[in-house]
């Protein structure tokens, strides 16, 4: 009973938050709604017993991602209302609703083959974090490491793109100009 | 040397073409002529070494190319392909020799040498894929020749030529792959070798589809009605040399392929489709002849006349008997010589007047009597005057088809009437009457360089018209083998009766003939 109430409550909340996110014309509202939605999602994780995931959700999304977005927003100065030219709204809503209806149509029916054998079952008597740890560092060690590489890539990418390296086009500058810049950089390093 | 003479014949010009890049521009013509001459001598040597009593393939070369997919580099000639190869090398030679001043002469000659490789390759290949390789590759140099040296609509014409034929041959390729697959199913081995395929007897329903697939590729190349419209453009826009080679050799690929592929592989389907194809051929003959009559541009007249003649060739091919097929092969050579010569002749006047419109001429016989004479000879050959080369082929083709259908042959025979109509009308417009246009009054007659090309063609035209035996005999022997093969492979009752069985009676006539001598 509690579970049902919680599910419907949070379902309602997330749906409305996300709905606001995609429809509001105030970027700030959108950001806030998104952050709220993320937090509500973490609630689901807790309901479902995925405590670790819930924590990660809050930390990564609301903590990190939202913060970056907030910075981005400030940078782009899009705190005021966003004006967007809209095309045909019917296409958009039609496509979205249709996709939802179609999938729901299928998902509404229970699966026939429900007796799944869990390949990586939860371990009796262990906390969720421990379980996750066990699987993550055995089976999913490699994906984990690759994810690390991915984050490294993202970091480098972020630095390259957002940093000064892209400010001037080395393609279009001639050698003299580049030397000039280099000299200035050296000066800065020396001083 | 003889072991690889075909490979040499194929790749010598290409190699020479590659080296040609290093030759200085001014010397290029001499280089080109010498290469083509050597090639021609080699091809003559091939003829010399050819044993005309053997009906099968000679000078066979075989090398596995993609063994796991059954593709091999197999070459060989028989009486059917031998003369077309010689014709190809001959026309390349006189084409280069008679080349008038062209911009980028070097590129032209190199292109021609590559074209020669593909032409010889098509006729020497005995593996479907190798055949296809050369078949497609031949489009490229021609594309360039038409597109770069052609008339005002050259790009349109060349692209149309390329895409149209390319489209058809791709369908043919699908057919080839099917054929190979059937062979694989039957034997468990992949093979694209033609001689292997000859052994395969397919059910009629398969034959029909495969025939249709091959037909599209060949028919566009021939070109058969209603796939012919690329040809007038290609000819109309191409430079003289391009038209000459296109008409003399490239068109023959289609009809040659009919004999090499369609007939022996699908005898039942050939019989099945005989009447439809004959009707198309008759439409080609009469309809294009009438269209030719309506033309104002003399080159278009010759171009449409080519289609008309190709109709006779197709008809002869689908006579499915020795007379008809031999005739059609002979007519291929004949038409090659004659239409090549006619295009050269049109080129002569085009060089002088830079127009091909017939109303710009008139009375040329007064100012250019030698030209008029040679043109007249070729004209008469074109309309199928006996004792010229064309007559032998036309006569045999029609004779052969007469066995299959009387009424259709009668209709096809209208060729000799309608052919005369447009040709004579064109000749009259160009050569007869008084010289009315000022520029025409002082036109120089054919010069030495042009004669170098035209005289040999005239000689061949008459020589093979009077004495076709040296050519006809090897053709005959090979054709007999093809017809016998078809008869043996035929499965339907109709095909068995339509395609003659040569094992009966042939001995008798042969011996009778020997006694007659």
């Amino acid at each position: 009973m509690f579970e049902a109430v919680a599910f419907y409550l949070f379902a309602f909340l997330t749906i409305s938050m996300f709905y606001i996110t995609v429809t509001t014309s105030q970027a700030l509202y959108a950001l806030t709604a998104l952050a709220a939605g993320m937090i509500f999602i973490s609630a689901f994780f807790f309901i479902l017993g995925a405590d670790f995931l819930g924590a990660v959700q809050i930390i990564v999304y609301t903590g990190a991602v939202m913060a970056i977005y907030a910075f981005g927003m400030m940078f782009f100065d899009s705190t005021r209302s966003v004006r967007e030219k809209q095309g045909n709204k019917y296409i958009i809503s039609g496509l979205a609703i249709l996709s939802a209806v179609l999938v729901v149509l299928i998902f509404a029916a229970p699966m026939i083959s429900t007796n799944m054998t869990a390949f990586y079952p939860s371990i009796e008597g262990a906390g969720n974090t421990q379980e996750v740890g066990m699987v993550l560092f055995t089976k999913y060690l490699i994906p984990f490491e690759v994810a690390a590489v991915m984050l490294l890539v993202a970091m480098i990418a972020g630095i390259v793109l957002a940093g000064k390296k892209m400010d001037l086009s080395l393609t279009l500058m001639n050698q003299a100009e580049i030397d000039e810049i280099k000299k200035e950089q050296d000066k800065k390093v020396l001083s | 040397m003889f072991d690889h003479i075909l490979s040499i014949l194929i790749f010598f010009p290409a190699l020479a073409g590659v080296f040609g890049f290093m030759i200085q521009k001014e010397s290029m013509r001499a280089y080109g002529i010498s290469v083509a001459f050597i090639e021609f001598i080699l091809s003559l040597w091939l003829w010399f070494a050819f044993d005309s009593n053997v009906s099968g393939m000679q000078f066979m070369e075989q090398m596995a190319l993609i063994p796991s997919f059954g593709i091999s580099y197999i070459l060989g000639v028989d009486g059917i392909s031998l003369f077309i190869i010689i014709l190809a090398s001959f026309f390349t030679m006189i084409g280069i020799a008679s080349l008038t001043e062209t911009p980028n002469e070097k590129n032209m000659i190199i292109t021609l040498l590559f074209l020669q490789m593909t032409m010889v390759g098509v006729f020497a290949a005995l593996d479907a894929i190798v055949f296809y390789v050369f078949w497609e590759l031949s489009l490229v140099p021609m594309l360039y020749i038409i597109g770069a040296w052609g008339g005002p609509l050259r790009v349109y014409a060349s692209v149309k030529f390329f895409l149209y034929t390319f489209m058809g041959s791709l369908v043919m390729l699908v057919g080839m792959l099917f054929m190979a697959y059937f062979f694989y199913q039957a034997t468990g081995v992949w093979s694209f070798a033609l001689l292997d395929w000859y052994r395969l007897i397919l059910p009629e329903s398969f034959q029909l589809w495969l025939f249709a697939a091959f037909f599209l590729g060949f028919a566009i190349k021939v070109p058969m009605f209603p796939f012919h419209t690329w040809l007038p453009y290609a000819h109309g826009q191409a430079p003289t040399i391009g038209s000459v080679i296109l008409a003399a050799i490239l068109l023959k690929m289609g009809t040659y392929a009919f004999i090499r592929f369609s007939l022996p592989l699908f005898p039942d389907a050939s019989v099945f489709f005989m009447y439809p194809i004959a009707i198309i051929a008759i439409i080609m003959i009469i309809y294009t002849a009438m269209v030719a009559y309506a033309q104002k541009d003399v080159k278009q007249v010759v171009a449409y006349s080519s289609i008309s003649h190709m109709g006779v060739i197709v008809l002869g091919t689908f006579a499915l008997n020795v007379e008809g097929i031999s005739g059609s092969i002979f007519l291929m050579i004949a038409h090659g010589v004659v239409s090549g010569a006619l295009f050269l002749l049109v080129g002569v006047i085009y060089d002088r007047r830079h127009t091909k419109m017939m109303d710009q001429f008139g009375g040329l016989a007064h100012v250019m009597p030698r030209y008029a004479t040679i043109f007249g000879v070729m004209l008469m050959a074109s309309v199928g005057m006996p004792l010229t080369i064309n007559f032998v082929g036309e006569f045999l083709s029609l004779l052969g088809f007469y066995e299959q259908s009387h009424i259709l042959t009668l209709l096809a025979g209208v060729a000799i009437v309608v052919g005369a109509i447009y040709m004579l009308a064109a000749y009259k417009k160009m050569f007869f009457g008084d010289v009315t246009i000022e520029e025409n009054k002082n036109l120089p007659d054919v010069n030495k360089r042009e004669l170098v090309a035209l005289i040999p063609l005239t000689i061949i035209t008459i020589w093979l018209g009077v004495y076709p035996k040296p050519v006809l005999e090897p053709i005959n022997n090979s054709v007999e083998a093809v017809v016998q093969l078809m008869h043996n492979k035929a499965t339907t009752e109709e095909a068995k009766t339509r395609i003659p069985d040569l094992t009966q009676g042939i001995e008798i006539t042969r011996t009778a003939m020997k006694e007659a001598h």
Partner: protein, 640 residues
């Protein structure tokens, strides 16, 4: 004897090639002389062969080499000199020798002198091939060869539009007939297995009549073209645009008789199919009358003679069609002599009159052109069939044949035609040589032709007079190979009534012609006289409107249909379809490229749309599977 055969055959070829060498150079007298000598050599050889054959010698048969051999087909260059061919050889070589010599004078002032001899000799060669060949294919070579030479010679003065037009007309019409001939050849080959006369004719009796009928019809179609039988006759009159010696040689003596020769040569075939023979005879009779009628009113000297030729060809076909092959051949020979003479005479007149052809503009020429006058008059007498000249023997014989075979209609037609022939022949003579000297109005000063031309013509004159006397010996010779049919009217009274009646009728016609045209009241017609405005006159003048009909209903439509085929069908349908397909592909690309609007939002929408599309397919399919049983139940409930 083979030696002579080769000389007879190849001397003209050598002559032609020799003359051809000089075509590009100005006139050279010796070209004509050499050519004439070579043709004369052929004539001499033919004569030797003739004596050989008459002397009961063996038929000379040679096989030069293989021409075509493939499959079961075997065609050699084979030549045969037998009684039939040697007759033709004689006629051909004799007339051509004379014409060659005559031409030296006639073409004296022509630029194309050398070229003329090249063509003329080539013609002789082709004709020799035609008559000497021992197989149908060889015949066909000659057949086409003479067609070609005829084309070259009719259009000899190629600057004249009308001449080249006539040349093309002749060639194309002959080609139409040649198609029939070709089909006949195919039929012969596929039914008898050979094209050699010997083998083919030997095999024919065992064939079924329908096939034979077809063979006969198709071969005769070929003959119709060459011999200008209705409806392929129009070219002959137009062919008169060529130089007159050409008309004499080709369009009177030799080529046009090739059709008759073919029928005679195929006598073994036509004997088997008498109904076709009857048709040939009927057509011949019709053409005889038909052509004669057109000759009555024509005002072109050469055309009148041409129509007369046509008419006489009709006679020959009557004879051949009725199975009297030797009679046909005999008339052919006799006709060759006097008709060539007539033409050459007309050539003299033309020369004298500066190429004027209208006899109404001449008159009274007998004073200045005595010899020509004599020759032409005698030739006309021979043509009219007056005893004892050549025409009487041959032509009367044909009438007899028709009578004896009980074809009275044909007989009466021929009889009337004989009268018409006499009338128009002497109308011509009267207009040219008698009456007022009307040419003076046009300021022409006529002169007699060169002496040697007249001398050259004299053998023809002689033959035109005496040819009839060869009848018996000729009959004996020819019947060695041809059916031996003698025609005797059983009742002598009937015979004499017929002969004398015919003679009287003809003489009456001549007298009438003289009366009407040999007086001084003849004026150059100006289109106002009553006769000229009568319908009959107009019909005849316009050749029954047949050339007009051909022009209007065949040539023009052909040209128009050709144009339609090119501009409407080829460009607008066939080619447009091809281009259209390409165009559709291209324009589809052009139209749908807006899908790539460059706007990211649109791109995303496309992606979502694609996914939704996939989903809907998936759901439809998935639900269909899930509720498969229910759907089946519903459907069966609906009675599907």
């Amino acid at each position: 004897m083979e030696k002579y055969l080769y000389i007879a055959l190849f001397a003209p070829l050598v002559s032609s090639l020799f003359s051809a060498l000089f075509t590009a150079t100005p006139k050279k007298q010796f070209v004509g002389i050499v050519a004439s000598l070579l043709i004369f050599a052929a004539f001499v050889s033919s004569s030797i062969l003739l004596t050989h054959i008459i002397g009961g010698g063996e038929v000379v048969h040679v096989e030069l080499m293989t021409w075509m051999a493939t499959g079961d087909l075997y065609i050699p260059f084979g030549f045969v000199v037998d009684q039939v061919s040697v007759t033709m050889m004689m006629v051909v070589t004799l007339v051509s020798t004379i014409v060659h010599v005559y031409s030296i004078g006639y073409m004296d002032h022509d630029k194309g002198f050398n070229r003329f001899f090249a063509w003329l000799s080539a013609f002789v060669f082709s004709m020799m091939v035609l008559v000497m060949s021992d197989n149908f294919a060889g015949l066909f070579i000659g057949w086409e060869g003479v067609g070609l030479c005829s084309w070259g010679l009719i259009g000899f003065w190629f600057h004249k539009e009308i001449a080249t037009w006539a040349a093309n007309e002749a060639f194309i019409m002959n080609r139409i007939a040649d198609l029939g001939m070709l089909i006949g050849l195919f039929l012969v080959y596929w039914n008898t297995g050979t094209l050699q006369y010997e083998g083919a004719f030997a095999a024919m009796p065992s064939l079924d009549p329908a096939t034979l009928t077809w063979i006969g019809i198709f071969l005769f179609i070929g003959a119709m073209g060459k011999s200008a039988q209705f409806p392929l006759h129009t070219w002959l009159a137009d062919a008169m645009e060529g130089p007159t010696p050409v008309s004499a040689l080709i369009h009177a003596a030799t080529m046009v008789t090739a059709g008759v020769y073919l029928v005679v040569r195929s006598n073994e075939l036509y004997d088997l199919i008498p109904h076709v023979g009857l048709f040939i005879a009927s057509l011949g009779a019709f053409v005889a009358m038909f052509a004669a009628s057109m000759a009555l009113v024509n005002r072109d000297m050469k055309r009148i003679i041409a129509y007369s030729t046509l008419s006489q060809l009709g006679y020959m076909f009557v004879a051949a069609g009725l199975g009297a092959y030797w009679v046909a051949l005999f008339h052919l020979m006799a006709h060759a002599f006097f008709k060539a003479l007539l033409f050459l005479g007309a050539g003299n007149v033309m020369h004298a009159m500066h190429d004027e052809l209208d006899p109404f503009k001449m008159g009274g020429l007998k004073k200045t052109m005595k010899w020509t006058f004599i020759m032409m008059t005698l030739a006309s007498v021979a043509l009219a069939g007056i005893y004892p000249l050549a025409g009487f023997f041959s032509k009367d014989l044909i009438l007899e044949v028709a009578f004896v075979e009980h074809h009275y209609i044909i007989y009466s037609v021929l009889l009337i035609t004989a009268g018409l022939t006499a009338f128009y022949s002497f109308r011509l003579i009267a207009l040219i040589f008698h009456g007022e000297e009307r040419y003076k109005l046009f300021g022409i000063h006529p002169h007699e032709a060169y002496k040697f031309m007249l001398v050259a013509m004299s053998p023809l004159l002689l033959l035109a007079i005496i040819a009839g006397s060869f009848k018996i010996s000729y009959f004996e010779m020819v019947t060695n190979v041809l059916p031996e049919l003698e025609y005797h009217i059983h009742h002598p009274v009937t015979f004499w009534i017929m002969v004398i009646g015919t003679q009287l009728f003809v003489i009456a016609a001549i007298a009438f012609a003289y009366k009407k045209y040999a007086n001084s009241s003849v004026k150059v017609p100006d289109g106002t006289s009553k006769m000229e405005n009568s319908i009959a006159y107009k019909i005849l003048k316009n050749q029954y409107y047949i050339p007009y009909a051909y022009e209007e209903y065949l040539v023009k439509p052909y040209r128009e249909i050709s144009d339609v085929f090119w501009k409407q069908v080829d460009l607008k349908i066939v080619d447009a379809t091809v281009d259209g397909i390409a165009g559709i592909i291209y324009s589809t690309g052009e139209k749908t490229r807006d899908m790539q609007s460059g706007n990211l939002s649109t791109m995303l929408k496309w992606m979502v749309a694609g996914t939704v599309g996939l989903l809907s397919l998936a759901v439809v399919f998935g639900l269909a599977v899930r509720y498969f049983d229910e759907i089946l139940a519903v459907l069966s409930g609906l009675g599907v």
